[in-house]
Amino acid sequence: MPATFHSASVDTEEFGRELDKIRDEVLASLGERDAAYIRNLIAVQRKLELGGRALLFASWLPPAWAAGTAALAVAKILENMEIGHNVLHGQWDWMRDPKIHSATWEWDMASPADQWKHSHNFVHHTWTNVLGKDRDIGFSAMRISPEQPWHPIYLAQPFYNALLALFFEYGIAIYDVELERIPSGKKDPKEALTQLRAVLAKIRRQIVKDYVAFPLLAGPAFLPVLLGNLTANMARNVWGHTIIFCGHFPEGAEVFTEDRLESETRGEWYLRQLLGSCNIDGGRLFHIMSGNLSHQIEHHLFPDLPSNRYAEIAPRVRALCERFGLPYTSGSLARQAGSVWRRVLRLALPGPGRPAAGEPPARTLEAAA
């Protein structure tokens, strides 16, 4: 856990200017190499999916089932994370290829791309870790920060967090509809209904594809194919849930109160993004499989820079943090995931009072002098 520091002593604006410099450098150097990266990745992902599904047709052989399911799971993870999430962020819009563009991309997720772009790119990335604004804090259904008042329902949160992990894509889709804002009148029920219909239409296509059409095509292998597809989808859900929770909710990530937002400068915005995010250590393959959300800090500082560049700029961002005396939270997947689960378990119970041992309080950071 990083020591509490006082941002008043940090030259936030200088920190922001240094980050802007990194951003401009990357933008100016985008080119053929980056385009080749995403094109190759998309081709690999699609071939992996075709290969996985082909193998599953022979799934009465247990090794074929295992290999096919694994290939399909990996393809689905790549499709959602390193490709879909990042394309929808507009990271590849600079290529001006309508086939790889945030305005046209649709993904294998229950959330229609348009709805997700609003709730994720706009609400979450703008209001990152601000209580009452960033609906991603505990996905509005869990108590992840001691600042959130306790309610008996949170006693069940370890259980429904596990459930959420298994059905993550549906959780996200329902969550994007913002049902909890209807009673207070902040959300038009008609709009919510239209959104729900779009979600259902997408879910229907997914279900027909994975649980009806491909199993039927496999004839006698109907059941193993269905189970293989189900396993691949669940594996993707659990993986996505783990990576995303590790990016924002382990100890070390901070949450903020709303007064922080008033007249926030660019430097302060950068600072909030940094303090609200945690990286996960790992090798190249791991970073790709996590959609480079393992570079959550870099991603939150520069959400629209191509993800293949995050690993390259990470040492520079870390060095900057050191220079400015800012924490740069990073840890292994096991450590971060353990930390998230400890928090989910601890905060299921009332308390702790503030300040609590092991739980960083939400801080109002004064604007830097």
């Binding site: 985008l30 080119g31 053929e32 190499r33 980056d34 385009a35 080749a36 081709a43 699609r46 071939k47 075709l50 507009g90 819009d93 600079w94 290529m95 001006r96 290829d97 309508p98 086939k99 563009h101 945030s102 305005a103 046209t104 649709e106 993904w107 294998d108 997408k202 296509r205 997914q206 027909v208 594809k209 059409a213 491909f214 095509l217 629209d304």
Partner: protein, 359 residues
Amino acid sequence: MILTSASPATLLQRLSAAAQWLTSPLLPDDYLGLINPLWGAGELCGRVEAVDAETSDAATLVIRPGRGWVTHRPGQWIRIGVDIDGRRHWRTFSLSSAPGRSDGRVTVTVKAVRGGLVSDYLVRSTAPGTVLRLGLPEGAFVLPEPPPPRLLFVTAGSGITPVMAMLDGLRLDNADGPDVILVHSAPTPADVIFGRRLRNLAARWPRLRLHERHTRSEGRLRPADLARLCPDWTERSLWACGPPAMLDDIAAHWTGPADRLHVERFSLVPTAAGPGGRVRFTRSGREAEAGGETPLLAVGESAGVLMPSGCRMGICYGCVARLRTGQVRDVRTGQVHGEVGDMIQTCVSVAAGPVEIEL
């Protein structure tokens, strides 16, 4: 039997709709394109199969168009999308081949303009095997059917390209074919695109008379020169393609009926600019400050908006978008115009004050 009553086209559509259930959220095309980009019909592609040098700064690209191609009329142009340094750029090029070649291929002939991004890349850095995005043939710079009995072509530089496609289709080997004069300008004999081919044709076909104007030694072609080389020039049907100054000269001195003068412009001379304004792209939510000289097309492209485009000079209408609020200035005329809901050409429109574009 339901299937027998369906035409092959609708049968294919039904099959494709059924296949979409297997490929959702992608299209079957996205997987077909993995094997061969020319097979996808969603995005027309062409593969460069040969690049033949024409002069020191011009080359002919022999292209095999993919599924979805439609035969062109000689004189027409296509939009070509090229990826350079990871970014897609669209430009317009006339087809220089006659339609219906037995090998199924078409050609464009490109002259590298100084400082020109796409033309230079196509002439010097394009290897056989490169896949290009294509648009379908468009344009009204074509010969009527049957062709008029007396024709005059006035071309300069790369302006010969659409005319080359027309000559090939004119059956000039035929004794009762039309009477054709071609006046072509280029700096030196070595700079004449299709020089050897044109000279050979003129030698073989008495009905084709070729006048080469070598501007480095003889100076630029003037309308008076035209009248000298071809006294009946305003009585002929005239097709002209070349730099703006030459075309403006010809148009100003043309005394024949307007419907016999056909002009194709490859580039555009913008008029004086005014102050710009803030541009908001409503669908993508992007915004940018735009100067009075930057076309909305370029403004949107730098802001990361997926801007449709083509010729970038007001000809192809590949760039039109709906104006939501504000007014724009047409860079060709300087005229300020626009009402809510107008479809405007973003490539020749600049912001005249704050505007919103539906993209």
